[in-house]
């Protein structure tokens, strides 16, 4: 279904000045799809997102978004096109209130009219954000900060939500709650989601499709159920 392809990365090579972190990455995402990228630490998952959102410039390769070349768009403009990046480690604005954080998520919406409706939806998904509107984001717990970061990503009504390790450093029950919320959001809105995760089982369970990244290369991709039984994943993580 090439016409429904929303985002396509072709032969991406990227790094931070020194040695390359990503080698020949090919990934595609169709409208309404939920894909997962899994892989051990240091495999290049975060670099992949930073390349899509423009913080890292690839050395070669192309990124096509809605049929046009994304690499020509400056980093800060990309959010205006419907790409929402929820960075690793939560990255809220700690000395601003929860509400202000959400408003900044909708920074691209200049009038703020749509935002009011979106805010209602965000609060219905994450009621705790509604209760703590005026609290400073830096004083929230880890799980609440992650919910805020996701809520902030949703505030601009994006076409693609990129989630970088939402479970990192969170207790399993809280991580489970966040995953359940994500799947609910995906199902009710049809939002396209790219999830980068180290919790392999969850990442595979929720996704329509998955890619396995190791040492900067995609070593496997396809149907999550098949991947689940692939010994190579177990090997990559547990060494046996």
């Amino acid at each position: 279904m090439p016409e429904s392809t929303l985002l396509e990365l072709a032969n991406i090579n990227a790094g931070y000045g020194g040695p390359k972190v990503l080698h020949d990455i090919n990934i595609s995402l169709s409208a309404g799809e939920f894909i997962s990228v899994i892989g051990p630490n240091g495999a290049g998952k975060s670099t992949l997102f930073r390349t899509i959102s423009g913080i890292v410039r690839p050395a070669s390769g192309s990124i096509t978004y809605k049929g046009s070349n994304l690499l020509e768009v400056e980093a800060s403009r990309r959010a205006h096109l419907g790409l929402a990046h929820v960075p690793e480690g939560r990255q809220v604005f700690p000395s601003m209130s929860v509400l202000e954080n959400l408003e900044l998520g909708a920074y691209v919406d200049k009038t703020g009219i749509e935002f009011r409706q979106t805010l209602e939806k965000i609060v219905s998904w994450f009621p705790v954000l509604g209760e703590r509107q005026q609290q400073l984001a830096g004083t929230l717990s880890g799980g609440e900060q992650q919910m805020l970061a996701i809520g902030r990503g949703l505030a601009a009504n994006p076409d693609i939500l990129m989630l970088d390790e939402p479970s990192m450093g969170l207790a399993p029950t809280i991580a489970d709650e966040i995953f359940e919320r994500l799947i609910e959001i995906h199902k009710t809105t049809g939002l396209s989601i790219i999830l980068v995760e180290q919790r392999v089982a969850e990442a595979l369970h929720f996704a329509n499709r998955a890619y396995v990244l190791e040492a900067g290369r995609i070593i496997l991709s396809g149907n999550p159920a098949e991947l689940q039984n692939d010994d190579r994943i177990r090997q990559a993580y547990l060494g046996m």
């Binding site: 630490n41 489970d176 969850e202 040492a215 990559a236 547990l238």
Partner: protein, 588 residues
């Protein structure tokens, strides 16, 4: 450093002195001779600033304080006690040094912005104090009858000689320092203070030594300046322009080099003096504008100074290297230099009990207790964010625990500074490698070797042995910044080994390596272990670790999840859940 490098620098210094004298002898205009006297004064100031800020990376905006104290000391001693400058200039040097030490002790607690601001305040505070004391203008009394004694010569040529003498002394001192342990330590501090502390450099001590010497030189320059100009005013010696000039000459010429500050002074002082003499009537601030423009241009177009710029234009592609380039590598050195002997294999070398550390709401380390046995290879594993690196930061003293204790060879480690802990025998590598980028691989490792020896010879030997062990002989003259990921990690390992540790903390040394390089790294770690050194290694992925380690400690959310042999750990359901998630177990 080879003796030949020092000799070469001395030869250049002598040559420079000779050329300068000949030039001065050819000049008869007394105004130009005055300029030729002032140039060395400012060159000394530039070198003084460079010795501290250029080598240590802490920017001082306060060198005017030392300069001014030197000036006033010479001037007032002559006015009040009729002491001659031959006595008072050394006194000014001493006073500068002491004031440098006094300024350094409280001010080094500050970092970055705060340090720069505090340094700015010292000379300005002194400026107003001297104004208040009524020393708005102190003229040196004339003693023409004893010119030699009071340094008051009819012929300005003699002033040039004295100024040059001061400059030559300063150049010699700078040369000696830059080839010494002090110079290497300062460069290491500049390039990465945290790594410097971790390889056993007592950063505070070396910074104090540096500011003392630097301030002493500034004091001497100030004292001589008073003698030349015969009149001292607070603004002329404590003013912001004085500190600024010191900095500008050094940065304009080339930071961290021997000749940069001299070059800066030689170009900028005559330029501004001559333009000032010609256009001062129409354009009174022309000197300041020239200095301002010069420094703006340098920052924008040649941030390392024109000396480096010219060098990189002449030899494009050549990397900017600091420190000594001549090699003292001696690879016949014996690995046994690094070996550790211990009597009892099963003795506990490190004991962590009830260790806790929280950041904000996040409990990074949570009542953690475990033991490391002498000579073992212990793997610490756990998912991202489990608190592994925080644990290492606690162990080597970067971070202080909220509670709990760490005992190493039965000595408590909590509240000790990282350089002390390194000297006691715990070395580490970093998750994100921290090379001293502008030092060669050999120098990187030598910096680590200075922990147990102050002789460059011995340090060179230990460093060579460590480099040979990890197999970086071919790369030993490359700068730290030009290494591949694998070489960087090997270099860090060698640097850690050079401090002759009994315990090495290795942080994700396998991350980002391809399978072949990983195997190579594992071999090197086995070699290290064969020397009797205990290794604690952090790794995210268990794959490679299973073949390597004797025992695992598994962390999750800062707490101990499990410990035991590799076979036990990979079958442990809680470990599998932490790594692959609950659903994996359900489906399996």
């Amino acid at each position: 450093m080879s003796v030949s490098g020092v000799r070469k620098d001395f030869f250049h210094i002598a040559l420079f002195g000779l050329v300068y004298i000949v030039l001065a002898a050819l000049v008869s205009n007394s105004y130009y001779l005055l300029i030729m006297t002032i140039v060395p004064v400012w060159a000394v100031m530039g070198l003084s600033w460079n010795l501290f800020s250029g080598y240590s990376g802490l920017i001082s905006f306060g060198h005017a304080a030392f300069f001014g104290l030197g000036s006033y000391l010479v001037a007032l001693c002559m006015v009040v006690w009729e002491l001659n400058p031959w006595i008072t200039i050394p006194l000014a040097t001493l006073a500068g040094g002491v004031s440098g030490l006094l300024v350094g002790i409280p001010t080094f607690r500050l970092r970055g912005h705060y340090f720069a601001l505090a340094m700015l305040a010292y000379p300005l505070a002194l400026l107003y104090i001297f104004e208040w004391l009524g020393y708005q203008e102190v003229a040196l009394p004339m003693n023409r009858e004893a010119p030699l004694m009071y340094m008051q010569f009819e012929n300005p040529f003699y002033y040039v000689l004295l100024g040059l003498l001061l400059l030559l002394c300063t150049l010699v001192i700078t040369t000696l320092i830059s080839h010494s342990r002090l110079g290497m330590s300062l460069l290491a501090i500049k390039l990465d203070e945290e790594a410097a502390e971790a390889v056993g450099i007592n950063t505070l001590y070396w910074k104090l030594v540096a500011i003392t010497i630097s301030a002493a030189l500034a004091g001497a320059a100030g004292g001589f300046y008073a003698v030349v100009l015969l009149v001292v005013t607070p603004l002329a010696v404590f003013g912001m322009l004085v500190s600024a000039q010191a900095l500008i000459f050094a940065m304009f010429g080339g930071v961290g080099t021997l000749w940069g500050p001299v070059l800066g002074a030689i170009i900028l002082v005559p330029l501004s003096e001559i333009l000032y003499a010609r256009y001062a009537a129409d354009f009174p601030g022309i000197q300041g504008v020239i200095y301002g423009v010069a420094i703006i241009a340098v920052i924008l177009f040649a941030p390392e100074g024109i000396l480096w710029k010219v060098r990189s234009l002449l030899r494009p592609g050549q990397f900017r290297m600091l420190g000594s380039s001549a090699s003292v590598a001696d690879f016949s050195a014996d690995e046994s230099l690094l070996a550790v002997t211990h009597d009892d294999k099963n003795q506990t070398i490190l004991e962590v009990s009830d260790l806790s550390k929280a950041y904000g709401g996040l409990q990074a380390t949570d009542a953690l207790s475990f033991k490391v046995r002498q000579g073992e290879l212990l793997g610490i594993i756990g998912p991202n964010g489990a608190g592994k690196t925080t644990l290492f930061n606690l162990l080597n003293g970067f971070v202080k625990p909220d509670k709990g204790s760490i005992n190493f060879q039965n000595k408590a480690l909590v509240n000790k500074r990282p350089n002390r802990i390194c000297a006691m025998g715990i070395a580490r590598t970093f998750q994100v490698a921290k090379p001293f980028t502008h030092l060669s691989v050999l120098d990187n490792v030598i910096v680590g070797a200075y922990v147990h020896t102050s002789s460059r010879q011995a340090a060179g030997q230990i460093a060579s042995a460590a480099i040979a062990l990890v197999g970086l002989e071919q790369q030993c003259d490359l700068p730290g910044a030009n290494l591949t990921n694998k070489e960087l990690r090997l270099m860090e390992l060698a640097r850690a080994l050079a401090s002759k540790p009994s315990l090495i903390l290795v942080d994700e040394i396998l991350a980002g390596l391809d399978p072949e390089a990983m195997q190579e790294m594992l071999k090197v770690l086995q070699k290290v272990r064969a020397l009797g050194i205990t290794i604690v290694i952090i790794e995210h992925s268990m794959q490679a670790m299973v073949q390597l380690v004797d025992r695992f400690v598994v962390l999750d959310h800062g707490a101990l999840l499990a410990q035991g042999s590799p076979e036990e750990i990979v079958k442990n359901p809680t470990v599998i859940e932490a790594y692959l998630g609950k659903k994996w177990l359900e489906n399996a």
